[in-house]
C-alpha cells in the first residue's frame, strides 16, 4: 500500500497530467483509494498503468457496490497492484443513478485490462451499469431473459411467485 503521504503524491502527479480527474483521496484502514470522476476513469487508469515509476499494471479485481441511500449511488471499484513495489491502490468511480428506466453509463476498461471483460459483464448483470465500448456486454451469470438488477439494494430478497398451473386448473 502507498501510505497516506504517498497517496497524496500520486494524486498530485495525476493532477498535473490529468487535471480534475481525481476528485478526492481516502486512506482508510490501511487502504489507499482514489475517488475519480467517472468520465475520466480511463485517463487515470491509463496513467497508473503506464506512468514510469508507478506502473499499477495488474488489475486484480473490478467490482461494484450500491451505496443507497447515499448519492451518488453506485461505485465501480478497480483494485490495482503494482507488482514491483508490491503495492495496492483502489480506484473508485462514483456513478449517479439517472433515474426511471435509464441505466448509469461509463467507459469500459477492457482495452487497458483484458481481464475486465468477464468482471464488467458481471457488474452489468447485477447492477445494470453499462460499460461503453465493451465487446460483448451481456448477462453472464443470470439467465439471458432475466429482468432486473439483482444486486441493487432496492431489489427485494425473496422468492418469485411460482404458478402451479396443474393445481390451479384442477382446484381453482
Amino acid at each position: 500500500m502507498p501510505d497516506a503521504p504517498g497517496l497524496e503524491l500520486i494524486r498530485g502527479e495525476i493532477e498535473r497530467d490529468c487535471p480534475g480527474a481525481v476528485l478526492a483521496t481516502s486512506y482508510d484502514r490501511n487502504q489507499a483509494a482514489l475517488n475519480v470522476d467517472p468520465a475520466r476513469v480511463l485517463d487515470v487508469l491509463r496513467w497508473l498503468q503506464e506512468q514510469p515509476g508507478h506502473r499499477y499494471d495488474f488489475l486484480s479485481s473490478l467490482h461494484a457496490a450500491d451505496y443507497l441511500p447515499h448519492q451518488p449511488r453506485f461505485a465501480v471499484h478497480y483494485e490495482l497492484i503494482n507488482r514491483e513495489r508490491v503495492e495496492r491502490i483502489r480506484v473508485k468511480a462514483m456513478l449517479a443513478d439517472p433515474g426511471s428506466e435509464e441505466l448509469p453509463e461509463m467507459d469500459s476498461c477492457v482495452e487497458l485490462f483484458p481481464t475486465a471483460d468477464a468482471q464488467e459483464r458481471e457488474v452489468f448483470d447485477f447492477f445494470g451499469i453499462v460499460f461503453r465500448g465493451h465487446p460483448n456486454l451481456t448477462r453472464i451469470l443470470m439467465p439471458d431473459d432475466y429482468v432486473g438488477w439483482p444486486q441493487r439494494r432496492d431489489f427485494p430478497v425473496g422468492g418469485e411467485p411460482v404458478t402451479f398451473t396443474y393445481s390451479e386448473e384442477r382446484y381453482g
Partner: protein, 396 residues
C-alpha cells in the same frame, strides 16, 4: 443456379459440451467450434450454479455469513472463510491472537493440499489414469479426518470466526497432523513416480495449452497457472497476512507454461505446504485461540452461568450480531487457484451492505479460450483440468 459447394474437409461443426459432463469438472457448458478434431473457437457459458450467495449475505448478520461463503468454492472452504473473516477483522480493526494465526495457517495449508489432491485425482482421471484418483482420495480422506477431528465436520467446517477460531485443536491432533505432514512428501513422490514418466500423460501435457506469461498477466490470471509460466507471484510472500511471514517456504515456478508445468507446480506446492504445516506445528504459540473482545467474540460457554455481563454479550451477539462502522475493505489471500479477494462494504448496521468475492476460477476461466483454441478436443479437456476451475466459485 450456382451449385452450393461444401468442402467436407474444412467443415466447421459446433458442438455443445456440458453443462452436465463429467469432463467439465462441474456445471460448465462449452460451445466449441470443431474442424475435425481441432478446436477452432470456444465459448464457455457459465451461470448454471449461480445461487445468489452474495445477495443472500446482505440479509445475514456478519457471523452468519461465514457458512454461506464457504459454499462458493466448495473445495477450498477454509480460504473462503479466511477471506471473509480477515476482511471483517480489518473493518473492525480486531487483531487476532498469535495462536489463531498459526492455527489458521495450518488449516489453510491442509486445505491447499486437499484442493490440489482433488485436482490431481480428477485431472489424471480425465487423462485416463484412474488409479491416481484412488491414491489422491486416500490422502484427501486423511485431511478430512483431521478436519473432522478439530472441527467436527469434514467439509464446510465453519471453523474460522471473526477474531480467531471457534475451538482449540483437540488432544492428539498435533501428533496426527505432524504425521500427515511428514507422510505427504513421500506420497507426492509416489504420485510423481506414477505420472512423471508415463508416456500417455506426458504426450497429453507437454507443450499443450501454452499461453505466454504477458498474456496471462493481461488476463488477470493468478495462482499456479501464472507461476507455471514463470512469474513468481504469490500473495503469501507478497503481502503480510497470518503466519506466512514467519514461515520458510519456496514458490515453485515453471518455465514453459504448458500443462506439464502446471502439474509440476501444483505437485511441488503440496510439498511446500507440508513443510509449512510442519513449521507451524513446531512454532505453534500457546495462548488464546480467539480474541478477547466481547463486543465481537462470543464469551466462553462456562461464563454464561456465572456472569451477567457475559450473558448479555452472548445474547446481543446471537440475536442481533455485532455492528460494524461504515467502511469498505478488500482483502485478498492466495487460494489454491490464485488471488481470492473478498470485498465487504459496511453501512453501520449488523449486516454487510455488500459482500463480493473475486473468485480466481472466474477470472482464470477467461484464459481457457487461448489455452484450447488450435488444439485437439482431447487436449482441451486436459487443459480444462489443468486450469482447475471450481464452478461453485465461478458462479457463486
Amino acid at each position: 443456379m450456382a451449385e452450393a459447394t461444401v468442402d467436407r474437409d474444412r467443415e466447421i461443426m459446433t458442438v455443445n459440451i456440458g453443462p452436465h459432463h463429467p469432463a467439465t469438472h462441474g456445471v460448465l457448458r462449452l460451445v466449441v467450434d470443431l474442424e475435425g478434431e481441432m478446436v477452432r473457437e470456444l465459448r464457455p457459458v457459465i451461470g448454471y450454479v449461480h445461487t445468489g450467495i452474495e445477495k443472500s449475505c446482505e440479509d445475514k448478520s456478519y457471523w452468519k455469513v461465514i457458512p454461506f461463503v464457504e459454499r462458493m468454492d466448495y473445495v477450498s472452504y477454509f480460504f473462503q472463510m479466511e477471506a471473509f473473516c480477515g476482511a471483517v477483522e480489518r473493518l473492525i480493526d480486531l487483531e487476532i491472537p498469535p495462536r489463531a494465526k498459526y492455527l489458521r495457517t495450518i488449516f489453510l495449508e491442509l486445505n491447499r493440499i486437499h484442493s490440489h489432491l482433488v485436482w490431481l485425482g480428477t485431472t489424471a482421471l480425465d487423462l485416463g489414469a484412474i488409479s491416481m484418483l484412488w491414491y489422491c482420495f486416500r490422502e484427501r480422506d486423511k485431511i478430512l479426518d483431521l478436519f473432522e477431528m478439530a472441527t467436527g465436520q469434514r467439509m464446510h467446517t465453519r471453523y474460522f470466526q471473526v477474531g480467531g477460531v471457534i475451538e482449540d485443536i483437540p488432544v492428539g491432533f498435533e501428533a496426527k497432523c505432524r504425521a500427515f505432514a511428514e507422510e505427504m512428501p513421500v506420497r507426492v513422490g509416489q504420485y510423481e513416480d506414477l505420472l512423471d514418466r508415463n508416456e500417455v500423460f506426458l504426450s497429453r501435457t507437454k507443450g499443450v495449452g501454452i499461453v505466454p506469461r504477458e498474456r496471462l498477466l493481461e488476463l488477470g490470471v493468478t495462482g499456479p497457472l501464472l507461476r507455471a509460466a514463470g512469474e513468481p507471484w504469490d500473495l503469501r510472500k507478497a503481502f503480510d497476512y497470518l503466519a506466512y511471514p514467519e514461515m520458510d517456504f519456496k514458490i515453485p515456478v515453471g518455465t514453459v507454461g504448458d500443462n506439464y508445468d502446471r502439474y509440476r507446480v501444483r505437485v511441488a506446492e503440496m510439498v511446500e505446504s507440508s513443510r509449512i504445516i510442519g513449521q507451524a506445528l513446531d512454532a505453534l504459540p500457546e495462548g488464546p485461540f480467539i480474541a478477547d473482545d466481547r463486543k465481537y467474540v462470543l464469551p466462553p460457554r462456562s461464563e454464561l452461568s456465572t456472569s451477567m455481563e457475559s450473558l448479555i454479550h452472548h445474547f446481543k451477539l446471537v440475536t442481533e450480531g455485532f455492528r460494524v462502522d461504515p467502511g469498505e475493505v478488500y482483502y485478498s489471500i492466495e487460494s489454491p487457484r490464485g488471488e481470492l479477494g473478498c470485498f465487504v462494504l459496511a453501512d453501520g448496521s449488523a449486516k454487510p451492505a455488500r459482500v463480493h468475492y473475486r473468485d480466481p476460477s472466474f477470472v482464470n476461466l477467461q484464459a481457457f479460450r487461448e489455452m484450447a483454441v488450435g488444439t485437439y478436443v482431447a487436449d482441451m479437456i486436459a487443459s480444462l483440468g489443468m486450469l482447475d476451475p471450481i464452478l461453485g466459485g465461478v458462479d457463486r
